[in-house]
Amino acid sequence: MDKIKFDAWVGIFVAIGVISLLGLAMKVGNLTSNDIRETYSVIAHFENIGGLKPRAPVKGAGVVVGRVKSIIFDTEAYHAIVKIDIDKRYVFPKDTFANIYTAGLLGEQYIGLEAGGDMKNLSEGDRITQTQDAVVLEKLISQFLYTKASEED
């Protein structure tokens, strides 16, 4: 009799636990909303990535289509190589443009993809050739001051 009581209660206990975990995964987490399971990865070279971090979103027209997988520094060409995972459901032309943008004024940085006009599409291991670096505030300001100064001369 005791045996049945223990089994039943432990069963209920585990069931509540599983429901909670599923609830967390589905209702609270993003397991359903934008689950990026099958991906293909492409790389892009940037002179400066600013504050871009691994796992930053990759957006096409504002929709999250992938994530930054890794960022490494290339010691030969002295620039950053960013590896991007893109969801298999989304295809982009070969001459797609990759920009590093900032969400809001001080928000996190993400990569925005702008489709080009090529007939062929990007596939696993390809490189996005056209890139635009992150805007670094200090550079922008010094550039502004410099041009202002040269105008006054």
Partner: protein, 262 residues
Amino acid sequence: MKSLINFFEKVGFSVTSRIHRLGTATRLFFLILLASGESFKRFQLTMKEIYFTGVMSLVIIIVSAFFVGMVLGLQGYYTLQKYGSSEAIGVLVALALVRELGPVVTALLFAGRAGTAITAEIGLMKATEQLSAMEMMAVNPVGRIIAPRFWAGVIAMPILAAIFSMVGILGGYVVAVIVIGVDEGAFWSQMQANVDFRYDIVNGVIKSLVFGVACTIIALFEGYDAPPTAEGVSRATTRTVVTSSLVILGLDFILTSFMIGG
């Protein structure tokens, strides 16, 4: 001069005895792993202990989680409102619970509720020669008594933590959406957009697993190591709570820094 030497003697003694205890605890951990076969072959043994550690802790976990969630909802709302972003309340409640409060508060409550019970039980079994009697019956007490309790704790903790997080979020929902009137859609959608399954929820589960191992080992060790007297057992019970709490908080910092760094 003499008092200085005495002082160093005391420091040295307390350090070596602590290291000694750490060593015995580690040894117990390996003995448990070695003797774990029976806990799974005769899962009924472990099942009974899951009932005592897990099911019996459900009420305290659910009630505390609900209150913690409601407080988070209230405090979060009044803070976020100043910055005009009260819809972010869902994210705040969910992230706080899933990443930190769920695993940590569950582990602290577990140490107080189930950990002390384990220590007192094992300590009393030792004091009344039950463990000795078992040994004389050619039954290994580590396999028969200690290991099932260990696995029960390790299994129960993540389940309790998941329940804590979910109930806490429901508590936050009650305060934010039903009482204060934050938009329900914004509450859930903001949450979903910012809580990542792999990096927030799975990491929370990993934390609670680690806490489960730590808490249960501490409780079992304190009981197993307790002097077989009434005073010894009561001191061991107190030590279970103190040591568990410190270890949980320390481990939490270490784990968090690894998870955020990596």
